[in-house]
Assembly symmetry: C2
Homo-oligomer: 237 residues x 2
């Protein structure tokens, strides 16, 4: 059998009609006054041009030919929102033919930030939304957020991903609250305590959170485990 070779230009290749963009999903926790559990929130940017002028969209922009994908995600996030998380993880490449009036492949990144990392200063055309009650977004961005939420809920079960939403030291109640916000359901405090204590990922400190309740021991994550282990890609960003 004869087959064509790889990466060989063909007569109708898409070089002149397909463009590459990057977008970023930034999750944090936000406490609405009166609510028992904080909610997952993310920043969106109001589009000032067509297509979808006036609609909300994920922060992002075009990939520049002279920059890597990670660098493009950081740059466009900063340009649109002013946010500069220490680490962005690649989430997925979205490339459905009809996702935009022209052909656009969007490489989507994501990151978790602590509530205290959200700047107080407001940025023009940027607003934070509850992930559970978004308006109709531009392009396929609702679908992208749904996928990121699904990944977040899956990941919280087997990794230290909740760490990205917590201070360095935290109580078990604070950790449980993060899980409850992400999973959108209440967890039994005793079961939760047993599970995380058995997991080996937490180290108890000799410090306590004091306040209106009885003192609660502070824990920190075991730093022997990498927060975001990208394996062989780890050193490349």
């Amino acid at each position: 059998m004869t087959r064509t070779s790889t990466l060989t230009p063909t007569a109708d290749n898409a070089a002149d009609t397909t463009r590459v963009a990057v977008s970023t999903v930034i999750f944090t926790l936000r406490r609405t006054s009166g609510a028992e559990t904080p909610t997952v929130a993310l920043p969106l940017v109001r589009r000032t041009r067509d297509p979808h002028e006036g609609q909300w969209a994920l922060p992002g922009g075009w990939l520049d030919a002279s920059e890597g994908l990670d660098a493009a995600a950081s740059r466009t996030l900063g340009e649109t929102t002013g946010l500069a998380p220490s680490y962005l993880e690649q989430l997925y490449a979205f490339g459905a033919v009809d996702r935009s009036p022209t052909r656009v492949i969007s490489i989507v990144y994501w990151a978790l930030i602590r509530p205290d990392e959200v700047p107080d200063e407001s940025v023009e055309n940027v607003q934070w939304f509850d992930a559970a009650s978004l308006p109709r977004l531009a392009f396929d961005h609702n679908e992208i957020v749904d996928y990121a939420l699904w990944r977040l809920r899956n990941k919280v079960g087997y990794s230290r991903i909740a760490h990205g939403l917590l201070a360095d030291e935290f109580t078990l109640a604070e950790l449980r609250e993060v899980y409850e916000s992400i999973l959108q359901r209440r967890l039994d405090p005793a079961n939760f305590r047993r599970q995380v204590e058995n997991s080996g990922t937490l180290i108890p400190t000799d410090r306590f959170r004091t306040g209106s309740h009885r003192p609660a021991r502070l824990y920190r994550y075991n730093q022997d485990v990498e927060l975001a282990d990208r394996g062989p890609l780890g050193g490349r960003h």
Copy 2:
């Protein structure tokens, strides 16, 4: 603060210089005569044009403007190798500036296939290699394979990914052999049996594998769990 809008063309956007390709990593297990454990193997395609003419590369090709990413991965894999796995999963988008003489973003897919799914007929310019002893490949394809192997080793620990390399019914020894091949280390048979029996992912059948050894019970995976759960993306391929 004023920030620029998202997805708005800029003067120097990369539309005319950045191209999108797809590549695919297909893993299977191959038993070399005399070897105790099978090895992880993958098909590579010899390049017949520059750049990197004569070097081995992952199967793949250019994205066509009229097809989705998943479709492009299936099409180019079929065109180069004749392989048609039932399911390809997106692995990662590689986009380092210097990974090719021109700017190319490669969306990489991967799949596992059983040894009996590897066609006997040889395909011109296609050869199967042991993943552990690859030659120097074209572009950054060694790095891509390393990343896929790392994901495979990680995933085998918490998912049913080994299922893709096994028949519908299998003995615990056959399952352990798959794990040993992927993890590249021997596992204690008694510990392994206890772990998988406790995991709830296997269902014992009332059938046995007979032959030169004593009869061994056949198991199958619990079909209540999706093999490759992509969450909200599941219905889109």
